[in-house]
């Protein structure tokens, strides 16, 4: 493991040289992630690593890509998706347009899952899905809609557990170990780089999903990001977090009402 002081120096330098601010990330995870790239890339001395980061923007980008945790799946936590399908989508369906924001979408599995559910509910044509992440590389994968075929069996199981009744294999074409999801699913997706630490609200949404992203932030940053979502959410819109995340410590509970047993909250007043 690298030392605490080394980590703090790196955080300062990355901010000073490139403007990316990791100062409010949870240290336990960040330290493991930085140590991981440090050893992965064969460094022996921290100052070599540090000067590489400082002087080589390409390398700094690689490092940031590697320290963010991008593990994701389709229909992750099927009971969450079941609630979306059964209770939230019918409510959103009454609106003329549905605007959804996936903040921290990683490689996009979550976004394609949502598109499949919208399609099955007959709502995809009037929806728009903004999907953002700090990591530009994962967005490229997300845009392509190409995922490893070895994961598909698990995804098909999750899909069924989330209330899906179609033949899951109708949604993609399998080729050379990859599954390419149909273009009619991605037509309504807009991908762009957005940093939750430093970028502002860019639209008003009816549903915001930010799952398993806040766990990497400290309490203060969580508070700031929840407020950013609050600014970006229409009244009666929904905010959905990961199964172990909460808005409890971040925002007045009179403004939001928790929905069912899932980590979904409805904004009940401005």
């Amino acid at each position: 493991m690298i030392e605490d002081i080394e980590l703090e120096t790196l955080i300062n330098d990355v901010y000073e040289y490139y403007g990316f601010d990791f100062g409010s990330y949870s240290r336990a995870s960040l330290k493991r992630r930085v140590s991981r790239v440090f050893y992965l890339d064969g460094f022996k001395h921290f100052h070599d690593f540090l000067s590489k980061v400082r002087t080589d923007p390409e390398y700094c980008k690689r490092m940031i890509d590697e320290i963010t945790v991008n593990v994701t799946e389709m229909f992750r936590d099927p009971s969450f998706y079941l609630t979306l399908r059964k209770e939230i989508l019918p409510l959103l369906g009454t609106k003329p347009f549905i605007r959804i924001w996936h903040a921290g979408c990683s490689t996009g599995e979550e976004v394609y899952s949502m598109a499949i559910m919208l399609k099955e509910a007959g709502l995809l044509h009037k929806s728009i899905l903004y999907a953002t992440d700090i990591n530009a590389s994962v967005l490229e994968t997300a845009k392509s809609g190409i995922f490893p075929l070895r994961m598909i069996k698990d995804y098909a199981d999750n899909y069924r557990d989330s209330g899906g009744q179609q033949d899951f294999s109708d949604y993609y074409i399998a080729n050379y170990g990859f599954a390419k999801f149909n273009d009619n699913l991605s037509e309504k997706m807009v991908f762009s780089q957005h940093n939750l630490v430093s970028d502002t609200s860019f639209n008003e949404f009816d549903l915001i999903l930010c799952r398993n992203v806040l766990i990497y932030f400290d309490n203060n940053l969580q508070k700031r990001v929840i407020n950013l979502f609050d600014d970006s959410l229409a009244v009666l819109g929904f905010l959905a977090l990961g199964t172990k995340e909460t808005i409890k410590y971040s925002i007045s509970q009179t403004k939001y009402k928790q929905f069912a047993k899932e980590k979904i909250w409805r904004k009940i007043k401005e």
Binding site: S26, A28, R33, V69, N212, L214, Q222, K244
Partner: protein, 195 residues
């Protein structure tokens, strides 16, 4: 027991286990008193599907209260914390727990090594790590880290473990401070922080 190796000021007891460890936990936890002056953190491998059952079972049997582990929950003495499935459980300097969904380690998430190492870093010589039954090598590296940071390592006696592989592996690759049968682990826990 080597008296000199007993911690006076223990803040956290972290218990790791895999296959067969539930049985041991149920022989230990129900008999631990509410008044303990440390927190108990449990990291066991399990299927994603039985998410609630382990919590429910332990909550039902133990005198201690089980605190639900949500991200950034505060670690307090007198409570049991159970690592949720599909997340690694990490320790922060401000005595909160945080979660991480990064790659599996030793085919496991939560990984015992990850949590043991993280706890060792924060709690140094105020930490006791206990490794129970299992058929995987997770936990060995973590126990080493706990000892290196000044904490105490305890391994379930493989003869009393349902699945001896995990404790055996730890005994083979480390020098545990104690190797104890299930009942002895309970006695050991009762003695922690006692005069």
């Amino acid at each position: 027991m080597e008296e000199n190796k007993r911690i006076k000021d223990c803040k956290v007891v972290i218990i790791g286990g895999s296959a067969g460890s539930l049985q041991a936990l149920l022989q230990i936890l129900p008999f631990v008193e509410k008044t303990i002056s440390f927190a108990i953190v449990i990291v066991v491998h399990r299927k994603n599907t039985d998410e609630q059952t382990l919590e429910d079972l332990i909550a039902l049997k133990a005198k201690l209260k089980v605190k639900e582990v949500e991200d950034k929950v505060k670690l307090e003495a007198g409570f049991i914390y159970i690592a949720p499935s599909n997340y690694h459980l990490l320790f922060e300097k401000n005595e909160t727990l945080s979660l991480d969904t990064s790659e599996k380690i030793n085919y496991s998430r939560p990984s015992i090594d990850v949590s043991f190492e993280s706890a060792a870093e924060i709690y140094t010589n105020h930490l006791i790590g206990i490794l129970l039954s299992g058929s995987n090598s997770d936990g060995t590296v973590g126990l080493k880290a706990i000892q290196a940071a000044g904490g105490i390592s305890v391994v379930q006696n493989p003869l009393s473990a349902d699945m001896p592989y995990m404790p055996n592996n730890a005994i083979l690759h480390t020098t545990p401070d104690f190797v104890l049968k299930t009942e002895e682990i309970l006695e050991f826990i009762k003695e922690i922080n006692q005069e």
